[in-house]
Amino acid sequence: MGRLWKFEETIDTDVLAPGPYMNAPLSELAGHCLEALRPEFASSVRVGDVLLASDNMGAGSSREQAAEVLKHLGIEAIVATSFAGIFYRNAINLGLPVFVLPSSLTDVPQLKDGAKVSVDFDQSMLTLTDFDMDINLEPLPNFLRDLVADGGLVPHLAKRFAG
């Protein structure tokens, strides 16, 4: 179980993984994740938290660190009304579950910043634990589900090469 981090504005890759820190080790880069929008994010986010974003989540650069820093900081899943294509692929390749929210951010008033949540990967479901409320998310296509279930593209390929 974790908490929900809700962002109403479009999150681009430059605020996730700012260019000036791109030559630093991942742990240092992660410390600057989203600081332009929420300076407290990197220091307060905990393992199991879920990021909720609006349209075109992860727009911009192909830099994979934009997804990797979120995984490094413990984000368990990203839920957004839509994703930028490269970011979506990157997250899946890193084994970080991404789900499309079929409604708008405002349709469900209980989806508040800081709400207690859990994600059921197999059921593609987000549960708001305080309200005992389940929200269905768009399921991943099967072969992408397998990729995430394997832990991402590298373990998936390792399995393929071994087999």
Binding site: D12, N93, F143
Partner: protein, 422 residues
């Protein structure tokens, strides 16, 4: 009816036909990587998988992000890149020649009919040549380098048609800012965009590259333009191998599922996009009287030879306003050489421009040169996200090289047509 995107993907996947929505595995004809997302990221993954690159002749490596290296970390990245390239026996290695999207095309690597991936989000640039090309992250690139394959979901084609001709001092960059303004940054929905119409076919290859390049800003996977004689001539001059059947990729499908977006090029005014999104564009006139600190002509989007020449057209015999710094980072050594040969560089220099190395420069914010706190920059680059080019509270506006040059002269955001009788 088969779209250009479908033909390219069908051929790459070895299928007779592919339908929109099909997920297929494609063979990659060319994989391009740079020093940031490339060797330093893919090397450990390939080692973990115990694989070398599947075909060194199909890999192009360009150093452009951490160029020039300026500290121990960035020097280490350059050394790692070199060592890995030699170890993998990759012949197509362009060291500090320019920005990958420009270097790869000016060396004739991209031709109609190819299926290519690039380790950079502006990889749709290759679509200007009638090739399917898109950007991927490092892990996915490592997968491509290990297997020579990648999956794609066959995209819809979103036709963007520009009718009639552009007015003088209005460019491909203005067309793209107008498109961002009209359909927003998610408007490409990770489908394939195809540009068509008289104004598009009138453009030189470098300007077409600007269109395809900024398909990334629209959130499209690819930004295609059907090849024509201009494409063929460019490839021949670049020493590329034009396939015999290149005309078979001259597919225009303007009235497909999903309506085409149509614009009238003749009524387009120079555009400026306000911070922090290319979609915040409006006619340049709407921004008059906003002062700037930095005028930047840079990047794969906005510092190719045609862009430098455009800037020089305004700057000839004029000087940069007091208090403004004009920085110019030509997109490649070849672009710079051409601009030197015809006097373009000299015009820029005499107007007071400062020159930066032929690399990604301030655009990516990776180099030592960055925007300071609160600085206002008008830039010919593609992207103006918060903090991208430096301090989080710096402000980046986007425009064409003409508009950047005009504004450098007056010291405030200026429609270039005010400075020139057209």
């Amino acid at each position: 009816m088969t779209t250009l995107a479908q033909k390219l993907i069908a051929e790459a996947s070895g299928q007779e036909n592919v339908a929109v929505g099909d997920v297929v595995i494609c063979n990659v004809n060319l994989a391009m990587i740079h020093d940031s997302g490339g060797p330093r990221r893919v090397k450990p993954i390939l080692e973990k998988l115990d694989r070398k690159v599947w075909d060194p002749n199909r890999v192009v490596v360009v150093t452009d992000h951490y160029v020039p290296a300026y500290d121990d970390e960035t020097r280490a990245i350059q050394k790692l890149t070199r060592d890995w390239v030699y170890d993998q026996e990759i012949k197509n290695f362009y060291q500090e020649q320019g920005i990958c999207h420009v270097v790869v095309t000016e060396n004739g690597h991209i031709v109609p009919g190819m299926f290519c991936v690039g380790g950079d989000s502006h990889s749709p640039t290759g679509g200007a040549f009638g090739a399917y090309m898109f950007g991927v992250g490092a892990t996915e690139m490592a997968g491509v380098l290990a297997t020579g394959e990648i999956w794609v979901k066959v995209p819809e084609t979103i036709m963007i048609e520009w009718r009639n001709s552009l007015s003088p001092l209005v460019t491909a960059k203005d067309m793209m800012l107008m498109t961002c303004r009209s359909i927003g940054l998610g408007g490409g929905r990770y489908q394939a965009i195809q540009y068509a119409g008289q104004a598009v076919y009138n453009l030189s290859m470098q300007e077409r590259m600007t269109m395809s390049n900024m398909a990334a800003e629209l959130g499209a996977q690819a930004g295609l333009i059907a090849p024509d004689e201009i494409t063929a001539e460019y490839i021949n001059n670049a020493g590329g191998k034009l396939p015999q059947d290149w005309q078979s990729y001259r597919i225009e499908t303007p009235d497909l599922e999903g309506e085409a977006l149509r614009f009238d090029a003749s009524s387009l005014a120079p555009q400026i996009a306000a911070p922090h999104s290319p979609a915040n564009a409006d006619d340049a006139e709407a921004f008059r009287n906003i002062p700037l600190d930095i005028a930047y002509i840079g990047a794969c989007t906005g510092a190719k030879y045609v862009d430098l020449k455009a800037a020089a057209k305004l700057l000839r015999g004029r000087s940069v306003a007091k208090g403004v710094t004009l920085k110019v980072a030509p997109a490649s050594l070849l672009d710079q050489k051409q601009a030197k040969a015809d006097g373009t560089m000299q015009i820029l220099e005499e107007a007071g421009a400062q020159f930066l190395p032929t690399s990604c420069g301030i655009c990516a914010g990776y180099g030592s040169d960055r925007l300071l706190e609160g600085q206002v920059c008008l830039s010919s680059t593609a992207r103006n996200f918060r903090g991208r080019m430096g301090a989080a509270n710096s402000k980046v506006y986007l425009a064409s090289p003409y508009t950047v040059a005009a504004s450098a002269i007056t010291g405030e955001m200026t429609d270039p047509r005010h400075l020139m009788e057209v």
